[in-house]
Point group: C2
Chain length 245, copies 2
Protein backbone atom coordinates (compact mmCIF):
# COMPACT_ATOMS: atom_id res chain seq x y z
CA UNK A 1 0.00 0.00 0.00
CA UNK A 2 1.27 3.45 -0.87
CA UNK A 3 2.49 5.73 1.89
CA UNK A 4 0.33 8.80 2.45
CA UNK A 5 2.32 11.99 2.99
CA UNK A 6 0.40 14.90 4.48
CA UNK A 7 1.85 18.36 4.01
CA UNK A 8 0.69 21.80 2.87
CA UNK A 9 0.30 22.22 -0.87
CA UNK A 10 2.10 25.05 -2.67
CA UNK A 11 5.46 24.92 -0.89
CA UNK A 12 8.37 22.56 -0.25
CA UNK A 13 8.58 23.21 3.48
CA UNK A 14 9.39 20.46 5.93
CA UNK A 15 7.58 17.93 3.77
CA UNK A 16 10.38 18.15 1.22
CA UNK A 17 12.81 16.26 3.45
CA UNK A 18 10.41 13.31 3.39
CA UNK A 19 9.70 13.64 -0.35
CA UNK A 20 13.41 13.44 -1.18
CA UNK A 21 13.67 10.12 0.68
CA UNK A 22 10.54 8.68 -0.93
CA UNK A 23 11.69 9.81 -4.39
CA UNK A 24 15.25 8.49 -4.02
CA UNK A 25 13.84 5.10 -2.98
CA UNK A 26 11.15 5.20 -5.70
CA UNK A 27 8.60 4.39 -3.03
CA UNK A 28 4.90 4.57 -3.87
CA UNK A 29 3.36 7.53 -2.09
CA UNK A 30 0.39 9.86 -2.30
CA UNK A 31 0.96 13.56 -1.59
CA UNK A 32 -2.45 13.88 0.02
CA UNK A 33 -2.98 17.65 0.22
CA UNK A 34 -2.00 18.02 -3.44
CA UNK A 35 -4.67 15.53 -4.54
CA UNK A 36 -8.24 16.09 -5.67
CA UNK A 37 -11.24 16.33 -3.41
CA UNK A 38 -13.07 13.90 -5.71
CA UNK A 39 -10.44 11.29 -4.78
CA UNK A 40 -10.98 11.98 -1.05
CA UNK A 41 -7.71 13.88 -1.08
CA UNK A 42 -6.85 17.58 -0.94
CA UNK A 43 -6.35 20.02 1.90
CA UNK A 44 -9.67 19.02 3.47
CA UNK A 45 -8.47 15.45 3.94
CA UNK A 46 -5.41 16.77 5.76
CA UNK A 47 -7.35 19.19 7.94
CA UNK A 48 -9.73 16.40 8.95
CA UNK A 49 -6.79 14.51 10.45
CA UNK A 50 -5.35 17.61 12.13
CA UNK A 51 -8.65 18.73 13.61
CA UNK A 52 -10.05 15.35 14.59
CA UNK A 53 -11.73 15.36 17.97
CA UNK A 54 -11.90 11.56 18.13
CA UNK A 55 -8.80 10.00 16.49
CA UNK A 56 -6.17 8.50 18.74
CA UNK A 57 -2.94 10.50 18.72
CA UNK A 58 -3.79 13.27 16.25
CA UNK A 59 -0.77 15.11 14.81
CA UNK A 60 0.12 18.62 15.98
CA UNK A 61 1.17 19.86 12.55
CA UNK A 62 2.21 18.68 9.08
CA UNK A 63 4.16 16.85 7.87
CA UNK A 64 2.82 13.52 8.98
CA UNK A 65 2.88 10.12 7.31
CA UNK A 66 0.20 7.46 7.24
CA UNK A 67 1.37 3.90 6.82
CA UNK A 68 -1.57 1.58 7.22
CA UNK A 69 -3.06 2.25 10.65
CA UNK A 70 -0.03 4.17 11.88
CA UNK A 71 0.07 7.98 11.76
CA UNK A 72 3.57 9.32 12.28
CA UNK A 73 4.19 13.04 12.87
CA UNK A 74 7.36 15.14 12.87
CA UNK A 75 9.85 15.19 10.00
CA UNK A 76 12.78 13.51 11.75
CA UNK A 77 10.47 10.88 13.23
CA UNK A 78 9.02 10.07 9.81
CA UNK A 79 12.53 9.66 8.40
CA UNK A 80 13.65 7.53 11.35
CA UNK A 81 10.66 5.29 10.66
CA UNK A 82 11.03 5.22 6.88
CA UNK A 83 14.83 5.04 6.74
CA UNK A 84 15.24 1.27 7.20
CA UNK A 85 12.20 0.49 5.01
CA UNK A 86 13.61 2.61 2.17
CA UNK A 87 17.20 1.36 2.64
CA UNK A 88 18.17 4.91 3.51
CA UNK A 89 19.27 4.32 7.10
CA UNK A 90 22.58 2.97 8.38
CA UNK A 91 22.59 -0.81 8.75
CA UNK A 92 24.14 -0.57 12.22
CA UNK A 93 21.50 0.11 14.87
CA UNK A 94 23.70 2.39 16.94
CA UNK A 95 24.42 4.46 13.85
CA UNK A 96 20.68 4.88 13.34
CA UNK A 97 20.57 6.94 16.52
CA UNK A 98 23.56 8.90 15.27
CA UNK A 99 21.66 9.58 12.04
CA UNK A 100 18.57 10.62 13.99
CA UNK A 101 20.68 12.99 16.09
CA UNK A 102 22.07 14.57 12.92
CA UNK A 103 18.59 14.87 11.42
CA UNK A 104 17.33 16.58 14.58
CA UNK A 105 20.20 19.04 14.35
CA UNK A 106 19.15 19.72 10.75
CA UNK A 107 15.61 20.27 12.09
CA UNK A 108 16.97 22.81 14.58
CA UNK A 109 18.68 24.65 11.73
CA UNK A 110 15.42 24.61 9.73
CA UNK A 111 13.57 26.16 12.68
CA UNK A 112 16.20 28.89 12.94
CA UNK A 113 15.90 29.58 9.20
CA UNK A 114 12.14 29.96 9.62
CA UNK A 115 12.68 32.38 12.46
CA UNK A 116 14.94 34.61 10.33
CA UNK A 117 11.76 35.87 8.64
CA UNK A 118 9.37 35.27 11.55
CA UNK A 119 11.28 36.09 14.77
CA UNK A 120 8.31 37.47 16.70
CA UNK A 121 5.19 35.56 15.67
CA UNK A 122 4.57 32.83 13.10
CA UNK A 123 0.96 34.06 12.93
CA UNK A 124 1.90 37.58 11.81
CA UNK A 125 2.99 38.70 8.35
CA UNK A 126 6.67 39.09 7.57
CA UNK A 127 6.04 42.76 6.83
CA UNK A 128 4.89 43.25 10.42
CA UNK A 129 8.18 42.00 11.85
CA UNK A 130 10.65 43.08 9.18
CA UNK A 131 12.85 45.11 11.50
CA UNK A 132 13.25 42.24 13.91
CA UNK A 133 13.75 39.86 10.97
CA UNK A 134 16.70 41.93 9.81
CA UNK A 135 18.30 41.72 13.25
CA UNK A 136 17.70 37.98 13.57
CA UNK A 137 18.93 37.31 10.02
CA UNK A 138 22.11 39.27 10.63
CA UNK A 139 22.81 37.12 13.68
CA UNK A 140 21.88 33.95 11.81
CA UNK A 141 24.26 34.67 8.94
CA UNK A 142 27.08 35.89 11.19
CA UNK A 143 26.90 33.21 13.87
CA UNK A 144 24.33 30.46 13.52
CA UNK A 145 24.68 29.41 9.88
CA UNK A 146 28.48 29.14 10.16
CA UNK A 147 28.09 27.19 13.41
CA UNK A 148 25.70 24.64 11.87
CA UNK A 149 27.53 24.32 8.55
CA UNK A 150 30.91 24.16 10.27
CA UNK A 151 29.54 21.35 12.39
CA UNK A 152 28.17 19.37 9.44
CA UNK A 153 31.47 19.83 7.58
CA UNK A 154 33.29 18.50 10.64
CA UNK A 155 30.98 15.46 10.81
CA UNK A 156 31.85 14.67 7.20
CA UNK A 157 35.59 15.16 7.69
CA UNK A 158 35.59 13.05 10.88
CA UNK A 159 33.41 10.27 9.49
CA UNK A 160 35.59 7.15 9.91
CA UNK A 161 34.09 5.77 6.67
CA UNK A 162 35.12 8.86 4.70
CA UNK A 163 33.62 12.25 3.92
CA UNK A 164 31.17 11.02 1.25
CA UNK A 165 28.36 10.50 3.75
CA UNK A 166 27.10 11.98 7.01
CA UNK A 167 26.67 8.63 8.80
CA UNK A 168 28.44 5.42 7.84
CA UNK A 169 29.51 4.44 4.34
CA UNK A 170 26.19 4.44 2.49
CA UNK A 171 23.67 7.05 1.40
CA UNK A 172 21.14 7.89 4.12
CA UNK A 173 18.23 10.27 4.41
CA UNK A 174 20.57 12.61 6.31
CA UNK A 175 22.63 13.08 3.14
CA UNK A 176 19.46 13.94 1.21
CA UNK A 177 18.54 16.49 3.88
CA UNK A 178 21.97 18.11 3.65
CA UNK A 179 21.30 18.57 -0.07
CA UNK A 180 18.02 20.30 0.76
CA UNK A 181 19.65 22.56 3.35
CA UNK A 182 22.24 23.74 0.84
CA UNK A 183 19.60 24.34 -1.83
CA UNK A 184 17.43 26.25 0.60
CA UNK A 185 20.18 28.41 2.05
CA UNK A 186 21.43 29.26 -1.44
CA UNK A 187 17.92 30.28 -2.48
CA UNK A 188 17.25 32.36 0.64
CA UNK A 189 20.68 33.94 1.01
CA UNK A 190 22.44 33.94 -2.39
CA UNK A 191 24.99 36.57 -1.37
CA UNK A 192 25.81 35.12 2.02
CA UNK A 193 26.24 31.63 0.54
CA UNK A 194 28.17 32.65 -2.57
CA UNK A 195 31.44 31.15 -1.37
CA UNK A 196 29.98 28.15 0.41
CA UNK A 197 32.26 25.68 -1.41
CA UNK A 198 35.37 27.49 -0.18
CA UNK A 199 34.35 27.16 3.44
CA UNK A 200 32.49 23.85 3.40
CA UNK A 201 33.89 21.83 0.50
CA UNK A 202 32.65 18.45 1.72
CA UNK A 203 29.10 19.70 2.27
CA UNK A 204 28.98 21.12 -1.25
CA UNK A 205 30.50 17.92 -2.68
CA UNK A 206 27.80 15.91 -0.92
CA UNK A 207 25.14 18.29 -2.26
CA UNK A 208 26.49 17.78 -5.80
CA UNK A 209 26.62 14.00 -5.41
CA UNK A 210 23.00 13.89 -4.24
CA UNK A 211 21.86 16.17 -7.07
CA UNK A 212 23.51 13.82 -9.58
CA UNK A 213 21.74 10.70 -8.40
CA UNK A 214 19.36 9.58 -11.17
CA UNK A 215 16.21 9.37 -9.04
CA UNK A 216 16.87 12.73 -7.41
CA UNK A 217 17.73 14.38 -10.73
CA UNK A 218 14.52 13.03 -12.24
CA UNK A 219 12.54 14.30 -9.27
CA UNK A 220 14.11 17.76 -9.40
CA UNK A 221 13.19 18.01 -13.10
CA UNK A 222 9.61 16.88 -12.44
CA UNK A 223 6.57 19.03 -11.65
CA UNK A 224 6.46 17.32 -8.25
CA UNK A 225 9.42 19.46 -7.16
CA UNK A 226 7.84 22.82 -6.50
CA UNK A 227 10.12 25.84 -6.78
CA UNK A 228 11.18 27.60 -3.60
CA UNK A 229 8.91 30.53 -2.83
CA UNK A 230 8.05 33.05 -0.12
CA UNK A 231 5.50 30.84 1.64
CA UNK A 232 8.04 28.18 2.58
CA UNK A 233 10.78 27.86 5.18
CA UNK A 234 13.54 29.16 2.92
CA UNK A 235 12.45 32.58 1.63
CA UNK A 236 14.39 35.04 -0.44
CA UNK A 237 13.97 38.52 0.95
CA UNK A 238 16.94 40.49 -0.42
CA UNK A 239 16.95 42.83 2.58
CA UNK A 240 17.72 39.88 4.89
CA UNK A 241 20.71 38.67 2.86
CA UNK A 242 24.23 40.00 3.11
CA UNK A 243 27.50 39.44 1.29
CA UNK A 244 29.12 37.34 3.95
CA UNK A 245 30.57 33.92 3.26
CA UNK B 1 28.05 0.43 33.31
CA UNK B 2 26.48 3.72 34.33
CA UNK B 3 25.09 6.00 31.66
CA UNK B 4 27.01 9.25 31.23
CA UNK B 5 24.79 12.29 30.82
CA UNK B 6 26.47 15.41 29.45
CA UNK B 7 24.74 18.73 30.07
CA UNK B 8 25.65 22.20 31.35
CA UNK B 9 26.00 22.50 35.12
CA UNK B 10 23.97 25.10 37.02
CA UNK B 11 20.64 24.77 35.22
CA UNK B 12 17.93 22.22 34.48
CA UNK B 13 17.65 23.01 30.79
CA UNK B 14 17.06 20.31 28.22
CA UNK B 15 19.07 17.84 30.28
CA UNK B 16 16.26 17.74 32.84
CA UNK B 17 13.98 15.76 30.52
CA UNK B 18 16.61 13.00 30.47
CA UNK B 19 17.29 13.24 34.22
CA UNK B 20 13.62 12.71 35.03
CA UNK B 21 13.60 9.46 33.04
CA UNK B 22 16.83 8.21 34.59
CA UNK B 23 15.61 9.10 38.10
CA UNK B 24 12.17 7.53 37.67
CA UNK B 25 13.84 4.31 36.49
CA UNK B 26 16.51 4.50 39.21
CA UNK B 27 19.11 4.00 36.51
CA UNK B 28 22.78 4.43 37.37
CA UNK B 29 24.12 7.59 35.72
CA UNK B 30 26.88 10.11 36.02
CA UNK B 31 26.03 13.78 35.46
CA UNK B 32 29.40 14.43 33.86
CA UNK B 33 29.63 18.23 33.82
CA UNK B 34 28.65 18.39 37.49
CA UNK B 35 31.50 16.08 38.49
CA UNK B 36 35.02 16.85 39.66
CA UNK B 37 37.99 17.42 37.41
CA UNK B 38 40.00 15.06 39.60
CA UNK B 39 37.58 12.28 38.59
CA UNK B 40 38.06 13.17 34.88
CA UNK B 41 34.64 14.82 34.97
CA UNK B 42 33.49 18.43 34.98
CA UNK B 43 32.81 20.94 32.25
CA UNK B 44 36.21 20.26 30.66
CA UNK B 45 35.27 16.64 30.03
CA UNK B 46 32.12 17.78 28.28
CA UNK B 47 33.86 20.43 26.18
CA UNK B 48 36.45 17.87 25.07
CA UNK B 49 33.66 15.82 23.47
CA UNK B 50 31.98 18.86 21.93
CA UNK B 51 35.19 20.30 20.52
CA UNK B 52 36.83 17.07 19.39
CA UNK B 53 38.50 17.36 16.00
CA UNK B 54 38.98 13.59 15.69
CA UNK B 55 36.00 11.74 17.26
CA UNK B 56 33.48 10.13 14.94
CA UNK B 57 30.09 11.87 15.04
CA UNK B 58 30.75 14.60 17.63
CA UNK B 59 27.60 16.13 19.14
CA UNK B 60 26.44 19.60 18.11
CA UNK B 61 25.29 20.63 21.59
CA UNK B 62 24.36 19.23 25.00
CA UNK B 63 22.56 17.20 26.15
CA UNK B 64 24.17 14.03 24.91
CA UNK B 65 24.36 10.58 26.43
CA UNK B 66 27.23 8.14 26.40
CA UNK B 67 26.35 4.47 26.66
CA UNK B 68 29.48 2.41 26.19
CA UNK B 69 30.89 3.32 22.78
CA UNK B 70 27.72 5.05 21.62
CA UNK B 71 27.33 8.83 21.90
CA UNK B 72 23.72 9.93 21.41
CA UNK B 73 22.82 13.60 20.98
CA UNK B 74 19.48 15.45 21.07
CA UNK B 75 17.01 15.19 23.94
CA UNK B 76 14.21 13.36 22.12
CA UNK B 77 16.71 10.97 20.53
CA UNK B 78 18.23 10.14 23.93
CA UNK B 79 14.77 9.41 25.31
CA UNK B 80 13.81 7.32 22.27
CA UNK B 81 16.96 5.28 22.87
CA UNK B 82 16.61 5.04 26.65
CA UNK B 83 12.84 4.54 26.79
CA UNK B 84 12.73 0.78 26.17
CA UNK B 85 15.81 0.15 28.32
CA UNK B 86 14.25 2.04 31.26
CA UNK B 87 10.78 0.53 30.72
CA UNK B 88 9.52 4.04 30.00
CA UNK B 89 8.47 3.49 26.37
CA UNK B 90 5.28 1.95 25.04
CA UNK B 91 5.57 -1.79 24.50
CA UNK B 92 4.01 -1.54 21.04
CA UNK B 93 6.58 -0.55 18.44
CA UNK B 94 4.19 1.64 16.46
CA UNK B 95 3.31 3.53 19.63
CA UNK B 96 7.01 4.20 20.16
CA UNK B 97 6.95 6.39 17.06
CA UNK B 98 3.82 8.07 18.39
CA UNK B 99 5.67 8.76 21.65
CA UNK B 100 8.67 10.11 19.74
CA UNK B 101 6.39 12.40 17.74
CA UNK B 102 4.88 13.73 20.97
CA UNK B 103 8.32 14.24 22.49
CA UNK B 104 9.43 16.17 19.40
CA UNK B 105 6.38 18.40 19.73
CA UNK B 106 7.38 19.01 23.35
CA UNK B 107 10.87 19.87 22.05
CA UNK B 108 9.31 22.40 19.66
CA UNK B 109 7.48 23.99 22.58
CA UNK B 110 10.72 24.13 24.57
CA UNK B 111 12.45 25.93 21.70
CA UNK B 112 9.61 28.45 21.54
CA UNK B 113 9.86 29.01 25.31
CA UNK B 114 13.57 29.70 24.90
CA UNK B 115 12.84 32.20 22.16
CA UNK B 116 10.43 34.15 24.38
CA UNK B 117 13.48 35.59 26.13
CA UNK B 118 15.91 35.29 23.20
CA UNK B 119 13.95 36.08 20.02
CA UNK B 120 16.79 37.77 18.14
CA UNK B 121 20.06 36.08 19.10
CA UNK B 122 20.90 33.30 21.56
CA UNK B 123 24.39 34.79 21.78
CA UNK B 124 23.18 38.19 23.03
CA UNK B 125 22.01 39.07 26.53
CA UNK B 126 18.30 39.14 27.33
CA UNK B 127 18.65 42.81 28.22
CA UNK B 128 19.76 43.54 24.66
CA UNK B 129 16.56 42.09 23.16
CA UNK B 130 14.04 42.87 25.90
CA UNK B 131 11.66 44.81 23.66
CA UNK B 132 11.49 42.02 21.11
CA UNK B 133 11.19 39.49 23.95
CA UNK B 134 8.08 41.28 25.21
CA UNK B 135 6.50 41.08 21.75
CA UNK B 136 7.38 37.42 21.28
CA UNK B 137 6.23 36.50 24.80
CA UNK B 138 2.89 38.23 24.26
CA UNK B 139 2.36 36.17 21.12
CA UNK B 140 3.54 33.00 22.87
CA UNK B 141 1.11 33.43 25.76
CA UNK B 142 -1.80 34.50 23.56
CA UNK B 143 -1.41 31.96 20.77
CA UNK B 144 1.36 29.41 21.00
CA UNK B 145 1.11 28.19 24.61
CA UNK B 146 -2.67 27.63 24.30
CA UNK B 147 -2.12 25.85 20.99
CA UNK B 148 0.47 23.44 22.42
CA UNK B 149 -1.34 22.85 25.73
CA UNK B 150 -4.69 22.49 24.00
CA UNK B 151 -3.12 19.87 21.77
CA UNK B 152 -1.59 17.89 24.63
CA UNK B 153 -4.89 18.03 26.51
CA UNK B 154 -6.62 16.69 23.39
CA UNK B 155 -4.09 13.85 23.09
CA UNK B 156 -4.88 12.84 26.68
CA UNK B 157 -8.65 13.06 26.19
CA UNK B 158 -8.49 11.09 22.92
CA UNK B 159 -6.09 8.42 24.19
CA UNK B 160 -8.02 5.16 23.65
CA UNK B 161 -6.42 3.79 26.83
CA UNK B 162 -7.67 6.69 28.91
CA UNK B 163 -6.45 10.16 29.85
CA UNK B 164 -3.92 9.03 32.47
CA UNK B 165 -1.07 8.82 29.96
CA UNK B 166 0.07 10.51 26.77
CA UNK B 167 0.75 7.29 24.86
CA UNK B 168 -0.75 3.92 25.67
CA UNK B 169 -1.74 2.70 29.13
CA UNK B 170 1.58 2.90 30.97
CA UNK B 171 3.89 5.65 32.18
CA UNK B 172 6.33 6.78 29.50
CA UNK B 173 9.05 9.40 29.30
CA UNK B 174 6.53 11.63 27.50
CA UNK B 175 4.44 11.81 30.69
CA UNK B 176 7.54 12.83 32.65
CA UNK B 177 8.26 15.55 30.09
CA UNK B 178 4.70 16.89 30.37
CA UNK B 179 5.35 17.26 34.12
CA UNK B 180 8.48 19.26 33.37
CA UNK B 181 6.68 21.48 30.85
CA UNK B 182 3.99 22.37 33.42
CA UNK B 183 6.58 23.05 36.12
CA UNK B 184 8.60 25.23 33.77
CA UNK B 185 5.69 27.23 32.41
CA UNK B 186 4.38 27.84 35.93
CA UNK B 187 7.80 29.08 37.00
CA UNK B 188 8.29 31.33 33.98
CA UNK B 189 4.75 32.67 33.67
CA UNK B 190 3.00 32.39 37.07
CA UNK B 191 0.26 34.84 36.15
CA UNK B 192 -0.47 33.47 32.69
CA UNK B 193 -0.60 29.90 34.03
CA UNK B 194 -2.59 30.64 37.20
CA UNK B 195 -5.74 28.94 35.92
CA UNK B 196 -4.06 26.14 34.01
CA UNK B 197 -6.13 23.44 35.73
CA UNK B 198 -9.37 25.04 34.57
CA UNK B 199 -8.33 24.94 30.93
CA UNK B 200 -6.23 21.80 30.84
CA UNK B 201 -7.47 19.54 33.67
CA UNK B 202 -5.96 16.32 32.32
CA UNK B 203 -2.54 17.87 31.82
CA UNK B 204 -2.51 19.14 35.38
CA UNK B 205 -3.78 15.79 36.69
CA UNK B 206 -0.93 14.07 34.85
CA UNK B 207 1.54 16.60 36.29
CA UNK B 208 0.25 15.83 39.79
CA UNK B 209 0.42 12.07 39.25
CA UNK B 210 4.02 12.29 38.09
CA UNK B 211 4.99 14.53 41.02
CA UNK B 212 3.53 11.97 43.43
CA UNK B 213 5.56 9.05 42.11
CA UNK B 214 8.02 8.01 44.84
CA UNK B 215 11.16 8.13 42.72
CA UNK B 216 10.23 11.48 41.22
CA UNK B 217 9.25 12.94 44.61
CA UNK B 218 12.57 11.78 46.06
CA UNK B 219 14.44 13.30 43.15
CA UNK B 220 12.61 16.63 43.42
CA UNK B 221 13.51 16.80 47.12
CA UNK B 222 17.16 15.98 46.44
CA UNK B 223 20.02 18.39 45.73
CA UNK B 224 20.26 16.83 42.26
CA UNK B 225 17.14 18.78 41.27
CA UNK B 226 18.46 22.29 40.72
CA UNK B 227 15.95 25.10 41.13
CA UNK B 228 14.73 26.90 38.02
CA UNK B 229 16.78 30.02 37.37
CA UNK B 230 17.43 32.69 34.78
CA UNK B 231 20.14 30.78 32.94
CA UNK B 232 17.81 27.96 31.89
CA UNK B 233 15.10 27.52 29.27
CA UNK B 234 12.25 28.53 31.59
CA UNK B 235 13.09 31.96 32.99
CA UNK B 236 10.95 34.18 35.15
CA UNK B 237 11.09 37.74 33.91
CA UNK B 238 7.96 39.40 35.36
CA UNK B 239 7.78 41.85 32.46
CA UNK B 240 7.25 38.94 30.03
CA UNK B 241 4.35 37.44 31.99
CA UNK B 242 0.74 38.50 31.80
CA UNK B 243 -2.49 37.58 33.54
CA UNK B 244 -3.92 35.49 30.76
CA UNK B 245 -5.20 32.02 31.36
Amino acid sequence: MAYELYYWDGLQGRGEFVRLALEEAQAAYVDVARGEKTDSLGIGAMMAKLDSRSDAYPPFAPPFLKDGDLLIPQTANILFYLGPKLSLAPRDEGLRYVANGLQLTIADLVTEVHDTHHPIASGLYYEDQKGEAKARSADFLAHRMPKFLGYFERVLVQNPSGPQHMAGDTLTYVDLSIFQIVEGLRYAFPKATKHLADHYPHIVALRDAVAARPNIAAYLASPRRLPFNETGIFRHYPELDRSAR
